[in-house]
């Protein structure tokens, strides 16, 4: 095993050098000679962000639980460290053993958001690995990826040897077995042969085994498998029995403060509320809850193994967990003497959620965060955010009666059918909440923050056909809305429209964008998700150089029968269902959550197949009837 040499004196000039030293509590250090398979798990962002990511922790545990494999971590070095690495010729190395990433069998990236793509290229470069699959040799590791972005990974398809679609706890095991066999046989046929073998595994997508074609006008035409092994479509993997899946009950304790520095308890996977803008709500279906007793036990282990003093109940819509009140009571009882607090990161907009929040925040009331997403009922119906004005007011009223005085409200702008009236609705709502605080408490001075993100249409959502609102129009909307906030106690914050534009291009892009990514990276783009590093003009210049029109990807409304670059990936939810939802959105008709109501025919349950697991009494004692919605 080679190790990189770093003189500690060099690190004295680096910000937060503890990011680069490894040795954290619960990190797993194995002897490289004692295992067959060496996996470097990469996250394309800085330590504090990377260490907060649950998916990566789970895969780290899955691999390190095996006796024949090891997984080590590598994160994007911050710009100062990158400069040092270049100056001293230190290749990208893993934290556990300081071993160059290039010496591993596999380099596995998590792709959490599109704006991290340039960091991926940068990390490959620092590792000394050719950026493109086509240029890699037998000496290079297999470069693979998982995470939410892989559902449409086409813009980065040329940089990766394969993708894990969906939940990878099981497919990772199958992949490692296949790799072990192939290595044992003496690597017959080289990495090409291995990739064909891996393509047999359900949920694994090998982009080089497919050929893409485009229409003359530039639209995507089709994708065709080039080998028998290449499945069409590639179905995502899910874990049906979430009570018996590997969990990370020994999470690594970061050396420095990170974004989410607490124990994380995943209560369930999936969310079927069906918000039409939300990709997570479509790609992670169906809902699968863990048993409450199981969660208690996991929580106890997590705290014992870490010494954390906070546990966060995490899921897509945490308050939807069917046994939440019992779970919270049990955890609070169990942890009271150990001074461990319980927290709920995502609150539903209703009074019930406030009751739970009240329980967990008995002493200090931090700010209350609610996400109505749109300012009028009409628009909330369009996006299927099944929240009424009454829900919002009841939630806030309940919160104010119980001592909260700070509210943070999340909205989006640039949603389909949105008018200035809907935007005015945001300001109105904030003002009414401000008044409500006075009515409830008799005091003025409730502090409200209104945060408005610009909407990015994502693949695998009912809004995947829509043309994104232009940067100029978003900026006009921002100015308009800013003009409506006159109360000094209401703070208005919004996101950079230009970042949202690039994100929209990458989210619904095709393979031709790999040239743009490489070009913009060569021009110096990294850390694009950090405002201080994002350079819009650099991106625009790169599109020009590559002869691609960014509006073609972001702003163009797509025909309902248009082929999409991601049609060969199947998340279980059918295009027919998404089209139906898109049409219902246009009419402002809502669709109910299938969790405790009848099936809506999104198809994920019969198609994968999978079973929705929810322990609410509505669902007790009978099997849910599910169906596939087909368009005539």
């Amino acid at each position: 095993m080679k190790q990189v040499y770093i003189d500690p004196v060099w690190l004295m000039h680096i910000q937060k050098p503890a990011r680069y030293i490894g040795g954290e509590w619960n990190s797993v250090v194995k002897d490289h000679d004692s295992v067959d398979l060496h996996v470097a798990l990469a996250f394309p962002d800085v330590y504090e962000v990377a260490m907060s990511h649950l998916g990566l922790k789970i895969i780290y545990s899955v691999i390190n639980k095996r006796s024949d494999a090891l997984a080590e971590r590598v994160y994007a070095p911050w710009v100062d460290m990158e400069a040092l690495m270049k100056e001293k010729q230190i290749p990208l190395y893993t934290l556990e053993s300081s071993c160059p990433v290039r010496d591993f069998d596999v380099l596995g990236f998590t792709l959490p958001y599109e704006m991290c793509y340039t960091n991926v290229l940068n990390m490959l470069h620092l590792a000394g690995i050719p950026l493109r699959t086509a240029d890699r040799t037998e000496e290079d590791p297999l470069v693979v990826a998982g995470g939410p972005c892989v559902y449409n990974a086409e813009p980065v398809a040329d940089f990766f040897d394969l993708f894990f679609i969906g939940e990878a706890e099981e497919s990772m095991g199958e992949f490692l077995e296949t790799l072990k066999m192939w290595k044992r046989e003496g690597r017959p046929g080289g990495r090409k042969e291995f990739l064909r073998r891996a393509a047999h595994i359900r949920g694994i997508y090998v982009p080089s085994l497919y050929e893409v074609s485009y229409e003359e006008d530039g639209r995507f035409r089709s994708i065709r498998p080039l080998a028998d092994e290449a499945a069409l479509p590639v179905y995502k993997r899910i874990i049906q029995d979430v009570d018996h899946v590997v969990i990370d009950d020994k999470p690594i304790l970061p050396h420095i403060e990170i974004v989410h520095d607490r124990a994380v308890l995943e209560m369930f996977r999936g969310c079927s509320r069906g918000c039409r803008f939300c990709q997570a709500g479509m790609i992670y279906r169906p809902v699968r809850e863990k048993k409450e007793e199981n969660l208690q036990e996991i929580a106890d282990r997590l705290i014992r193994n870490t010494g954390y003093s906070e546990i966060s109940l995490m899921s897509l819509s945490s308050a939807d967990y069917s046994r939440l009140p019992e779970l919270v009571d049990h955890l609070m009882d169990n942890f009271r003497d150990r001074r461990v607090s319980v927290s709920l990161p995502s609150l539903r907009v209703d009074s019930f959620s406030i009751d739970i929040a009240k329980k967990v925040q008995q002493v200090r009331k931090s700010g209350l965060t609610l996400a109505p997403e749109a300012g009028t009922q009409r628009l909330r119906d369009v996006i299927n955010k099944n929240v009424t004005e009454k829900d919002i007011m009841e939630a806030c009223g309940n919160a104010f009666r119980n001592g909260w005085s700070k509210v943070k409200l999340y909205f989006m702008m640039g949603l389909p059918t949105e008018t200035d009236e809907d935007l005015a609705g945001i300001a109105d709502l904030a003002n009414r909440i401000y008044q409500l605080y006075h009515t409830v408490t008799g005091k003025w001075g409730c502090r409200i923050t209104v945060s408005v993100a610009s909407f990015v249409p994502k693949p695998f959502t009912p809004f995947q056909w829509m043309g994104q609102c232009s940067v100029e129009e978003i900026e006009r909307k921002q100015r308009y809305l800013r003009g409506l906030f006159t109360n000094r106690n209401i703070k208005f914050a919004y996101h950079d429209a230009k970042t949202g534009y690039i994100e929209a291009i990458l989210a619904r892009g095709d393979r031709r964008l790999s040239d743009v990514l490489e070009t913009v990276w060569k021009h110096g783009a990294t850390y694009d998700s950090w405002t201080e590093f994002f350079d819009f003009d650099r991106w625009m210049e790169s599109f020009r150089e590559c002869g691609l029109d960014p509006d073609f990807y972001a702003a163009r409304e797509r025909a309902l029968d248009e082929a999409m670059p991601w049609d060969h990936i199947h998340c279980g939810v059918t295009k027919d269902f998404l089209r139906k939802e898109w049409r219902l959105a246009g009419r402002g008709v809502t669709t109910e959550d299938c969790r405790r109501h009848p099936c809506n025919g999104c198809a994920v349950c019969p198609m994968l197949p999978a079973v929705l697991v929810d322990y609410h009494k509505e669902n007790e004692g009978h099997e849910k009837t599910v169906f596939v919605y087909h368009e005539r």
Partner: protein, 244 residues
Amino acid sequence: MKRLFLSITKGEEIRFLGHLDFLRTLERAVLRAEIPAVFSEGFNPHMKIALDAALGVGVVADLIYLELRVEDSVSLEEVRERLAPQLLKGIRIHDIREAAPEWPKLINYLNEDSYEAEGPVSGTVDEARIQEETARFNGLDSFVYQRVTPKKVREIDIMPLLTEPVAVRIDNGRAYVTFSFLRTRTGSIQPKDIWKILAESFHMPWMPGEFVCRRCGVYHRENGVRMTPFDEAAFPATTQEPEK
């Protein structure tokens, strides 16, 4: 409630943990060890744990003293046994003793630190010259140093603060400088100052700022005599050692 003094090591593996990160690591180890530590009262209770000094990022320590308050129910041996397996690589427990309530806080009791600074040599190394310059420095009665901080410039005479002669050793392309100085209330000198002074004013073959540091000792110094909190004579007759 028991008041404990522990002497521990902050080793190479965790050199780059800053003071608060190091303290948090220790707190979490105490929690995992399920040692009944004592917490402050109030809305936001804190574990009663403190270190003898706030060592900077990049500084290791052969010994650093830790004060911890625990419930009476736990014995010194139990604390040691439970804590040791929960400590990060690079942290070791040396000694542990119970402290009387009236003994001063460690941070107030300890007043002298010894360091060894280490860094790469640059330029030509002339051993004889190095020793001459070292002797010249040690022979000075006064050396006024301008300490520049973002807020102000301060002049300090460092010689009265240095308690032992500075020694310089060159080995295998690295320079090692040992020195000891007194802590003062008004913020005294720091290792980086000595390293810089020797480089800039005494022609030592290294670059200012290009070094790492090891604290090799920390003492209570009185009338030229060094004591540690673990010496029998450390807390004299006016106080009674509590029963074990």
